[in-house]
C-alpha cells in the first residue's frame, strides 16, 4: 500500500510538471491558434540552462528564477523574428517551421552540453526526506508539487482575474475583433508566446533534478504535452491541469510493473480520445 501511495505522490509531482509544460502549449494554441512543435525543445533548453547556472553559481534557486526568464526572452526573440511570420499560415506550415526550430535548439544543446545526459542535484536545503506517516518522501519532490501548485494558481489568477487574462481570453475567441477594439494584439501575442514557452522552461528546471537531463527528451516531452492538451481540450486551463495529473499518475503507477506499457498506453489513449472526443474532456466543441 505504501508503495502505491509513494508512486501516487510521484505521479502528482510528475503531473504538475506536465501541467506546466502543457498549459503553455494550450494557451498558445488557444490565443494564437498556433501549433508549437518546438515546445519540448524549450523545455530541454530550460533544463540545460539550469544545469549551467547550478554548475557555475552552485545555486539552484538562482537557476529556478533565471532559466525560465531567459527562455521566455529567447522565445520573445524567436516570436519577433520568425514565429509571427507564420501565424497566418496553415497549421502544416507552423508545424514544419517549429519542427525546424526544435531541431536547431536540440542540436545546439548537444553541441554546447554534449551528447551525454546530465544530472543536477536538488538544492542542499531540500536534499533530505520528510516523514509522512509511515514512510519517507524526498523533500525536493514535495517542493515541486507545492511550487508548481503555486505557479498554477498564479497562472490561473493571471488568466482569470486580470485584464491581461481577459484580453487573452477575448483574443482566443476572436483576435480580429479584439484588434479592432483597440488592443495591440501583436504585443499580446508576443507576451503570451513568451509566457507559454517560459512555463515550459520552468518545467524543465523543476524536472531536471528528478528526471535528469537527456538531449533527446524534447520529442518525448512534446508528445506527452500534446497528449495532455488533447485530453484536456485545446486551449483549456482546467483541461491541462486534469490531463497533466492524469498522465503523471498513470505513468507513475504503471512504471512499477510495466514501464514501456505506460508509454504504449498513453499514446493509445491519445489516439482513442482524438477519435472519440476530438475536443477533449474539457474543450469546447
Amino acid at each position: 500500500m505504501n508503495l502505491y501511495l509513494f508512486q501516487a505522490l510521484n505521479g502528482i509531482g510528475l503531473g504538475m510538471i506536465y501541467f506546466l509544460i502543457s498549459v503553455g502549449l494550450t494557451i498558445i494554441f488557444g490565443l494564437l491558434n498556433f501549433v508549437n512543435f518546438a515546445h519540448g525543445a524549450f523545455y530541454l533548453l530550460g533544463a540545460y540552462l539550469s544545469f549551467s547556472v547550478v554548475s557555475i553559481t552552485g545555486n539552484y534557486w538562482l537557476a529556478l528564477i533565471l532559466a525560465p526568464i531567459f527562455i521566455a526572452f529567447i522565445a520573445l526573440l524567436c516570436e519577433k523574428t520568425l514565429i509571427k511570420r507564420v501565424y497566418h499560415l496553415p497549421h502544416t506550415y507552423q508545424i514544419l517551421v517549429t519542427l525546424g526550430v526544435a531541431l536547431i535548439i536540440q542540436e545546439l544543446c548537444i553541441s554546447i552540453w554534449g551528447p551525454i545526459g546530465k544530472n543536477i542535484s536538488p538544492p542542499d536545503s531540500l536534499k533530505g526526506v520528510v516523514q509522512l506517516g509511515e514512510f519517507f518522501y524526498p523533500q525536493y519532490r514535495l517542493f515541486v508539487i507545492v511550487f508548481a501548485a503555486i505557479v498554477a494558481f498564479g497562472v490561473w489568477i493571471l488568466l482569470d482575474k486580470t485584464k491581461f487574462g481577459a484580453l487573452v481570453r477575448a483574443g482566443s475567441e476572436d483576435a480580429e475583433t479584439l484588434s479592432l477594439l483597440g488592443t495591440h494584439t501583436h504585443r499580446l501575442f508576443s507576451i503570451t508566446f513568451a509566457l507559454g514557452v517560459g512555463l515550459a522552461g520552468l518545467a524543465g528546471v523543476l524536472a531536471a533534478p528528478i528526471k535528469g537531463i537527456h538531449p533527446f527528451i524534447g520529442p518525448e516531452i512534446l508528445g506527452l504535452a500534446f497528449f495532455v492538451v488533447v485530453i484536456g481540450g485545446m486551449g483549456s486551463f482546467t483541461g491541462a491541469l486534469v490531463g497533466g495529473l492524469l498522465v503523471g499518475l498513470v505513468q507513475s503507477l504503471m512504471t512499477t510493473f510495466w514501464p514501456q506499457g505506460a508509454s504504449l498506453m498513453i499514446y493509445g489513449a491519445m489516439a482513442f480520445v482524438i477519435l472519440l472526443r476530438p475536443y477533449g474532456l474539457f474543450g469546447r466543441a
Binding site: 497549421h91 525546424g100 531541431l103 500534446f226 497528449f227 514501456q260 499514446y267 491519445m270 489516439a271 477519435l275
Partner: protein, 331 residues
Amino acid sequence: MKFKNSIIGGVTLLAIAMMILMPILLPSITLATEILIFALAALACNLLLGYTGLLSFGQGIFFGGGAYTASLVMIHLDFGLLGALFAATVIGSLLAFFVGALAIRRTGIYFVMLTLAFSQMAYFLAYTFSDWTGGDNGLLDVPRPPLSLFGFVISDLDSVESFYLFVALIFALVFILARRIIQSPFGTTLVAIRENEGRASAVGFSTNYFKLVAFVISGAITGMAGALYAMLLNFAPLSNIELLMSENILIMTIIGGTSSLLGSLLGAGAIVLIGDLLSSIWPRWMMILGAALIAVVLFMPGGLWGGLEALYLKLTGKNKSTQSSSSEDKK
C-alpha cells in the same frame, strides 16, 4: 496535350539520368543506393503531403515495419529476395490502412497528432517486443538473398553495383507508376482534395476513400523502401521506426519540393549526401536541416525542385505562358 506528354517523359528521363549519374559522381555506390532508397520513402511521403495535402508523422511506422517484416521473413521463413520485398510491401500497406483508416477521421492538427501518436505507439511496440525486433540492438544479420525468379538465379546481388542496379530498377518502376497514378483521374481527385476538401466532397467524391487509398499506396512504397534499406545494411535498427525517421522522411520531401515527384529524389539526395559529408566532421549537422526546413517553408515553398525549375525558366527565358502551363501541369 502533346506538350504535357513531353513534360512527363522529360521528368522521367531526368530521373533516369540522375540514376545513371549518381554512382559515377558520388564518392560511393552504397551512398547512391541509400539515396535511392530514401528517395522512394520521400516519394511516398510526397504522394500524401504534396498531392493529397496530408502531413503524416507516421511514415517511419511503414518504413520500420517494412524493414522488420522483410528481415523476419528472410531470417525465420527463408523467404527469397522478391518474396521478402513483397511481404514488406503488403505489411506496409496494411499498416498504412490501419493508421490511415483511423487518422483520416480527423483533419488538420488532430490528424497530424493521430499520426504522431501511432508513430510513438509503433516505436514502443517495437521496443517492447525485443525478442522479435532486437529492441535497442536492432535486428542483426539480415541476409541479402540472390535475385531469383522461378528458381532461376538472375544475380546474386553480392556486389554493391548489382544491388544499386536492382534498387534503381525498382525506383524507376515505382517512379513511373507513381507518375501514372498522379496523372490519372484518381490523382487529380487527390489534388482536388488537397485544394479544397469540402468542395471535392460536395462534388460527390468520397474524400475519405481517396485519402485512404493514397495512404495505402504510400505505406506500400515506404514499406518496400524499408525492406531495401534492411537489405542494404544487413541490419534493421530500431531507429528505422523512431519518430525521427518520420521527421527525416518529411524533411527530405519538403526540402526537395512537393510540387513534383522528382523533388523527392532531389531532397533525399541532398540530405543523405549532406549527412554523409558532414556527419564525420560535424556531428551536429542536423542543425542545418532545421534551418533549411524553416527557409524552405518560409521563402522557397517549391523546395529544391521549385528553385531549379524557376532557374531553368529564367535561363531559357521562356515566356509567361509556358510557365503557367507547366505549373498547371503540376497541379
